[in-house]
Structures are given as C-alpha cells and as structure tokens.
Symmetry: C2
Subunit: 341 residues, 2 copies
DNA sequence: TTGAAAGCGGTACCAA
DNA sequence: TTGGTACCGCTTTCAA
C-alpha cells in the first residue's frame, strides 16, 4: 500500500497536533475558524482521506455491508438486487463487499468468514441451499439477512418475494380475458419459488371452480428448452390450453418459439404469460405480458434492515413480503378462435 | 457491531497474554505445542475470528480489492467479469468491494473515494466515460486498473479486449464460406468497442480487395431495435448482403427476426454473425454463430495484477490484450441461392 | 483553543 | 517458552 497522508502528516505540516487536525476536519466546536480553514486547505492539497478502518477500530463501528450470492447474472436476478444495494448503501455511507459462491457451500462459507473477518457489520446472503447452518456458523454474532428462493420464511431476518401472489394475479388476469382452460408450465421445484407459483395458481383456479393443470418439465438450468418441450408435449397430446402461464420468461420464449413453429399465433390462438420481466422487447411484433419482480425494492429494504441492525441496538423491523406485479403487454388476449371451438 | 472475542478475551480465558495467544494461533515456533493446542481449542469454542482491519492497520497491508462498474447486468458483461474476480480474489485471501455507478461519474467518484477510505489495496474500474481524471483524483496513490471499452489503451494499467481481432476473424470466417458481399451493422460509437470492430472489419475486407460496407443505426441502449431497422433499410434499398455481421448479439437477434418476418431464411438466404455470445440458445432451430469474449480470463488477470500491485514494490507485468474468439454454430453458412444470382 | 494520554485489535521486537 | 512494550491511524476525555 502506498503511503497516504495521515492526521499526523497534516499535523506536522501545520504545526498542530494530530488531535487538533482530527477535530478541525470534523468541524469540532472547539477549534478556531482560522485553524479549520488552514487545516482543510492543506488536507485537500495533500489529498487526505480518513482511514475508515482505524476509525471503525476505535469507535467499534462498521462501514461495510457484505453480500453473498450464488452468481451474478447467469439466470439469476441478483444483479438487479445488487445495483440497488450498492446505491442504497453508498447513500448511507457504506461500502458493499460482494462474493459469488458459484453455487458452492464451501465458497459461500469462505466468503462469509472472510467478510466477517474484514469487519462487515451485517451480511445479505442469497444461500445456494436450504440448509443455512454453515452460513450461520461462519457468521457468528454478525447479523445475516437472507434473501432468495432457498430461504425458509421462518428465518428471523429474511426478505422474500411472495410468488403465490403471482399465481393469484395470473389467474385473475387470464380468467378476466375469458380463459378457463389455463395451464401452468413449470420445472423441477429446486426452490420455493416454483412451489409458491404452483400453490398460488392452484388455489386461485380452484377458487373459481376451475381445475388447475400443471406441467413440470426440465430444470432451472435450461428453461427455454423446457418451454419448447412443454408445448411439443401438449400439442402431441392434444391438450394445448387457451392460455399458458410459464414460470419464467425464458420458458415463455421457448414456448412461443415452439408455438410459432407450429403455425400458431400468440395471442390469437393462445395467450402466453411469463414471469420475471426479462425479455420484454425480444420479438418485433410481440411484447411479453409478464410479472415484474420488485428486486430493486428488495435490495433497498435489505440495506435498510442491515443498517438498522448495525446502528441500532434493538433493531428488527418486521419482515415484509415483496409482491411481483403484472405487466400487461400483448402476448395475452381474449380467448381466440381455437378456444371457442 | 456485536462484540466478538479478541485475543485478549482468549488470553483471559487461558491465563495467557494476548501476545502469546496471537503467536499460538499463528503457529509461531516459540510457543509450546501444549499451549498451542489449548489456545486453538478455546479459540474454536468461542468462535474467534481475527480482526483483519486491526491486523492490516499495524502491518500496513490491505486485504480487499475494489471494483467499480457502470452496472451489473443491464446489457453489460461485468457480471461475468465479476464472478471470476470474486473467485480469484477469494483464492488469494482478498475480499472484493463492488460498486455500481449507474453510469454517473459522481457516483463513480463517490464509490472510489469510499473504497479508498475503507482501505482497498487496489481498484478495478470500468469507467463510464473516457475522461478518467475524476477517478484518478479520487483514488490518489491507490493503484487503479482500468477495464472496459471506455479506457484509452495508453493507461499504465489497463486490461482491454481487442475488438479489431473480432473484425479480422469475422471476415476470415465469412470469406472462407465464400461470401464477398458482407456488411457490418453497428451503432453510434459511444466507446472504443465499436470503432475497433469497424476498423478491424474494414482492414480485413480491404486486405482481400473487398469493399467494406458499414451501417450505423441507433444507439447502444437498444440494439435489438437497431438490428431490425438495419435489415429493413437494406431490404428497402435492395442492398442486402449475403452475410451480415452484427456488432452485438442483441442486434443479430433483431436482424434475424426482421429477416424471418420477410420470409428469408438464415443461413440459407443470408448468414448472420453476432458478437458477445449471449443468445446462443434462443431459437429452437438456429444457434447463433458469434464471438465469445474472454471475460473470466480478463477478471482473473485483473485480480492477479491488482494483487501484484498490492504485494510487490516493483510490480507491473505488461498489459495484455484479450482476444475474442469465434464460436461457430449454425447461423452462418456457405453463400446461398440469393448470393449466387 | 489546544494537546497529552489512553485505547480499539493486532503484530514485531526484545527482555525476562 | 513467555510476556511487556510500542506502534499502526483515529477519536474521546480531560487537563493545560
């Protein structure tokens, strides 16, 4: 590390003690204006930057927040969460340490340990498994806020999306357009996300006296492929519904591709609804109706909670669920010719 | 911050001084095995974690690296870079502080300042403008490594992709398939990336006695739309080439959508080549031939350089350029029926 | 209005 | 083999 100027350096240059310099720079009431002015000028000239580590050491405070995620990008939405976490933290004077676990519990543990050792005041973790014991062990008394689809809602500090709500809204929207034959296309439920969508969907359908059809195909890693396969299978079996809700936008894109290959039009022949709001402008003539998940809001809430855990002794605002909301574009529409047959 | 156990705590529990405990935990040669054993056991029981901030303060060292990017995700590839930076840094014992500048120089400056103040040993910055003065001012003597398309190659520490090379490879690939009428579709050159692609393309075409056609449409923010417009324009003017290189995969997807709407087949009627390797599996029947950019390798190199700048007095391995490489799939092919007319 | 002393957690040096 | 002392940069307390 190159030598940066310290309070002592400036003290020598001004003929003051490092204490006086410290006070002057923090605008203490017991330093004369003239001195303050002189100190500030020199400090600016030499490019003085306070050493937060030393300050935190003495004050027993933290000025960083840790965040650990399975991966940035790569079919996750944590990049969206992070962008907001970064901004919100910076606005409150905190830096963010970020670690990518590459879906390995070992790396996850290592990141947590290192960050705790580097004095983060709190951690925001999107775990890669439902078992959280290794994380808690690694973090010790440092508070941890859990986010993401792997977390059980019982955790004391957790911020989750309520995907049951998506199911309710999906059914409401599609039945509102006259659909009664609606299918949900999902994949292997490797986390709660999928189960919640299925649950919300089923309940909303049953509430209306409709029978929920759910088709699980493939895995989270390649849902576009799964979307195509799902459509192929329904076409072969002659069980294509009038409206199809896909558990992800990737899946919806796959489904739409397959439908078009078979000469079916969306939404003329069949309505397709997605989830996550990623691919809104992919097709020239078709914009996906989908669910937007409030990831920035979740990031903001995580930072607020982290900071309150760091700065207050009795923190703990209650948990809240974040609800996806429907974004209506033009891949869904009234029941078409096929449906009325 | 909750109170974590310190060396002193363990000293009291074992009846030793904090100095002896420190040595025991670091396996110093002048501590008896029995004592070491006893100390380690207690330390594990109370969950002792060394305070890296305090250690760094005394040793005048750094155990974190900073990284500032315009945004994670959001049409950038910095998520790919980061994933590797995170892993490489963790393997070397460093944490990474990451900041998202949201393409604002003010936030960029703020992130740099805060990270320097929080004692990062070096910074990896993907600037949001070509003017780097505010960043250098904010970082002072802390070394900065620049990455991304806005950086001038003269910077002492910069890691860049050589997009001229993409141009050369594109022409080589397409002429190898028999194409002579090749167009490059780009957008407003808001950074060096585009200019380099154009330059490499033009030179390679001219080297073969072919005249380079370059069409600039739209801006970086919406290249899918630009791809569609570019195709429409060429169709209207009757200037559609036999092969089209698009400056980004988004653009290629837009172009392919437009071509298909007009009943043209890819690659039967026209070959389409992309850049960035994002959309490889979008179409059921078509996989995009494109360029893969070595972002993980770039991330690894950035960390290695950062660590050598932190740990060595006379560091500075030379800069190297990272070359995209061609990934041949099936959106390019031999000159088709149209081309032979 | 200013500064000397102490202490945050850790490590190096040297004496016991 | 162990521990006392000093110091890294900073802030608080209290005396000058």
């Amino acid at each position: 590390m190159p030598n940066r100027p310290t309070l002592k350096t400036i003290g020598q240059m001004t003929g003051l003690s490092h204490v006086a310099v410290s006070k002057a720079l923090r605008d203490a009431p017991d330093i004369s204006d003239a001195t303050k002015e002189r100190v500030r000028k020199i400090a600016a000239e030499v490019g003085y930057t306070p050493n937060m580590a030393a300050r935190n050491l003495y004050l027993q405070r933290a000025s960083t927040i840790g965040m650990v995620v399975p991966a940035m990008g790569d079919n996750t939405a944590y990049d969206l969460v992070f962008n907001e976490v970064s901004t919100a933290a910076a606005a409150l004077g905190y830096c963010v340490m970020l670690g990518s676990s590459h879906r390995s519990t070992d790396l996850e543990k290592r990141h947590c340990r290192m960050m705790v050792s580097n004095q983060v005041g709190a951690l925001i973790v999107a775990p890669c498994t439902s078992d959280l014991s290794h994380i808690k062990a690694a973090c010790g008394p440092t508070p941890v806020i859990f986010i993401g689809g792997k977390t059980a809602p019982e955790e004391p500090y957790s911020l989750l999306c309520d995907y049951r709500h998506s199911g309710a809204l999906a059914v409401e929207h599609l039945t509102g357009l006259g659909h009664r034959d609606i299918a949900l296309l999902t994949y292997e439920p490797e986390n709660l996300t999928i189960l919640q969508k299925e649950e919300g969907f089923s309940r909303a359908m049953e509430d209306r006296g409709l029978s929920p059809r759910i088709l699980r195909i493939g895995h989270a890693a390649n849902t576009m492929q799964a979307g195509m396969e799902g459509v192929e299978r329904m076409l072969n079996q002659g069980t294509l519904p009038t409206a199809l809700w896909c558990a992800s936008d990737y899946m919806a894109v796959g489904a739409i591709n397959a439908l078009r290959l078979h000469g079916l039009s969306v939404p003329g022949d069949i309505s397709v609804l997605g989830h996550d709001d990623i691919y809104c402008s992919l097709y020239p003539d078709l914009a996906l109706t989908t669910f937007h998940t409030p990831m920035p809001e979740l990031g903001k809430a995580a930072v607020d909670l982290a900071v309150s855990l760091i700065e207050q002794d009795h923190p703990a605002p209650p948990k809240q669920a974040f609800r996806p909301f429907l974004v209506v574009r033009n891949s869904t529409g009234p029941v078409g010719r096929r449906g009325r047959n």
